[in-house]
């Protein structure tokens, strides 16, 4: 199907079904139940899942295949966001031209950063990319204020009159796709359950499925094989008549374009952007997502992105009052003790949980969460057939 082998086609189908069904699958609890706060099926969060999924898929093409650890990918995210918001402010409220320009500008910026940074490898490459990203952040924050809006960033204002939009004077433009507004939703109520189907989410979901499909094609192509060769042995590559430099630069630019697409979609969903989008913690986050899910695997980065965004938005909302209501059935003293014990790991302390989880994954599952899944599956298979598994073990990224 679509030029894919059976296994990859199955994976693509699975991802498609999961993303399309996400509004239902992520809302497993009735609205009025005590568990409702674990529901992640609201548009805002689901959009973030798939947008960061795209970002991580792209990052994985660079890091997972070539082993070059970029620490400045958020810069491309930011460049994409700024490009899109300017298109929406000046030209049209249709998101497509904006997203197209986001990809173009991210690509141009990636060519420049990559051309310089890829002269070095290993830690020096990481530091160079980090330097570029921090430089972009600092510039966006200060001297580039006329373009970036500085500290306050950019948002669509009543005074903005895009060329191709018929806005009433004073009306604030809203992002749309051929008249279909991104914020439109239809809510389906079934019994106690409530599912929100949002236009913006499905636009992002389509973009992610397409991005995932292209990533599969790249992984299975001769080009993808060459990228893995870069990671494996550059010396042999040079003595086999291959120039590793253009390969790594191409991978860098492709992953920059993915980041640009993600940045553009962010603006399409929520029409504002600030320089903090390029801050180094944002670059670090995508590294965490990729490693947590499994660098070099197809679906791992998407899982990692979902995991981190879920924790950031759901686990962080559990405060001490909620904990007290959960453990109200315990005797008073014990209740306080249990809450005091759990409290550091939830709410504002969710970073602690994430950190511990990340450490556990890196130490025990160097291939990421996907390796965990593989191990569980193999354990079951062994039990059934009573045979040792011969499956290849995932090799950790450097």
């Amino acid at each position: 199907m679509l030029g894919l082998r059976k296994k990859d086609a199955g994976l693509l189908l699975l991802v498609t079904v999961l993303t399309v069904m996400a509004p239902v699958l992520l809302n497993p609890f009735p609205v009025d139940s005590a568990m409702a706060q674990f529901n992640a099926g609201y548009p805002d969060l689901m959009q973030r899942f798939v947008i960061f999924g795209i970002f991580a898929i792209g990052f994985n093409i660079l890091f997972g295949l070539t082993g070059y650890l970029s620490f400045g990918h958020a810069a491309f995210l930011g460049v994409g966001s700024y490009a899109t918001i300017w298109m929406m402010k000046l030209l049209t409220l249709n998101i497509l031209p904006g997203i197209f320009m986001a990809i173009v500008f991210a690509a141009l910026f990636a060519v420049m950063v990559g051309y310089i940074s890829l002269r070095r490898s290993g830690i020096y490459f990481s530091i160079l990319t980090l330097a570029f990203a921090q430089m972009s952040y600092a510039l966006a924050y200060s001297v580039l204020t006329p373009i970036t809006g500085g500290e306050t960033g950019l948002q669509i204002k009543p005074t903005d009159t895009p060329l191709l939009a018929n806005l009433e004077p004073g009306e604030i433009g809203r992002a749309s796709l051929f008249g279909l507004e991104m914020s439109q939703s239809s809510i389906i109520r079934m019994g106690g359950w409530e599912f929100t189907l949002n236009v913006g989410y499905y636009v992002c979901a389509m973009a992610m499925i397409l991005a995932f499909y292209m990533a599969i094609r790249i992984f299975r192509s001769p080009f993808g094989m060459m990228l893995r060769a870069v990671k494996s042995n550059q010396n042999r590559m040079y003595y086999t008549g291959l120039n590793a430099r253009p390969y790594t630069l191409a991978a860098f630019v492709i992953s920059g374009m993915y980041a640009g697409l993600a940045g553009g979609l962010m603006v399409a969903m929520d029409t504002q952007v600030g320089p903090e989008r390029m801050f180094w913690t944002a670059s670090g986050e995508v590294v965490l997502m990729t490693i947590l899910g499994g660098a070099g695997t197809l679906i791992g980065p998407v899982l990692g992105a979902g995991m981190i965004k879920y924790m950031e938005n759901i686990v962080s909302k559990i405060n001490d009052q909620i904990l007290h209501t959960w453990f109200a059935f315990l005797p008073d003293g014990l209740e306080d003790a249990v809450v005091a014990m759990i409290y550091p790991f939830v709410g504002k302390g969710w970073h602690l949980t994430l950190g511990l989880m990340f450490m556990a994954v890196v130490i025990f599952l160097p291939g990421g969460l996907l390796e965990g899944g593989d191990r569980i599956r193999n354990a079951f298979r062994r039990k059934r057939t009573g045979k040792e598994d011969t499956a290849k073990q995932r090799t950790p990224a450097e």
Binding site: P222, G224, M225, M226, S232, Y239, T240, L242, T395
Partner: protein, 251 residues
């Protein structure tokens, strides 16, 4: 005129004269061995041939073209392949993928952005790779990862990767270093077979006299960066200068 012509090559590392006025001519379709004691400059010379080092003076011509100033991948594209002292293969890739990469490099040049095709669909190249793997007896290991193979297998794979590009000149840097006697003999047999089956010129750097004398058509003895003698194996064997260089005996 040989296929490889080295003329008056000098290379200094600080105060050390690594190569002094090296002249070498490798004839087409012969096996030319370069021997010499440790520190004689054998590896330096080889590195000058493949673009890793730039000689201070002199010229290196391959098939009528200068290789000096070219990058290793350009020199490979001219038709020179190199086997390393410790096998250099793609450890994270399968044996089959290890074979596909040199084939693609040969067909598509040093860079091509074929990101939409599938490696699986390259049926012709796969067939070619399978033939070559059969020849080096690695076909049954084609799905193994390069890094999980034995050293002998890695060596054979590396040679297969070089040969499948049909190079005009194959450079071998101590192909039997660190091998057991049985493995060494296997390698010798493999190289002999290669030499018989195809038109190929080989240039071998080697310590092991047994290997050199069973393979080489001509031998150059290098000592302290300069060629002492160049002759046939029979004449080299009893040559007084060679004994002196190796054993320090007075001639």
């Amino acid at each position: 005129m040989g296929i490889l012509e080295v003329k008056d090559v000098n290379k200094r590392f600080g105060g050390l004269q690594a190569l002094g006025d090296v002249n070498l001519s490798v004839k087409e379709n012969t096996v030319h061995a370069i021997i010499g004691p440790n520190g004689a400059g054998k590896s330096t010379l080889l590195n000058c041939l493949v673009g890793k080092l730039m000689p201070d003076t002199g010229s290196v011509m391959f098939a009528g073209q200068s290789v000096l100033g070219r990058k290793p991948y350009e020199i490979n594209q001219m038709g020179i392949s190199r086997v390393f002292q410790t096998p250099e293969i793609f450890g994270d890739l399968t044996v089959m993928e290890n074979m596909m990469i040199p084939l693609l490099a040969k067909r598509d040049g040093s860079f091509r952005m074929h990101a939409y095709e599938s490696v699986e669909d390259e049926k012709d190249l796969r067939g070619e790779a399978e033939t070559m793997l059969t020849e080096v007896k690695l076909l049954d290991k084609q799905d193994m990862l390069g890094s999980s193979m034995s050293r002998g297998d890695k060596r054979r794979l590396e040679m297969a990767m070089c040969l499948i590009q049909r190079p005009k000149l194959l450079l071998l840097d101590e192909p039997t270093a660190g091998m057991a006697r049985a493995d060494t003999n296997n390698t010798i047999d493999l190289l002999k077979e290669i030499k018989e089956k195809r038109d190929i010129t080989m240039c071998i750097i080697e310590h092991d006299m047994h290997v050199v004398f069973s393979l080489a058509d001509r031998i150059t003895v290098l000592a302290q960066g300069t060629p002492l003698v160049e002759d046939t194996p029979e004449n080299i064997k009893g040559h007084p200068k060679v004994k002196e260089a190796y054993l320090g005996e007075a001639a």
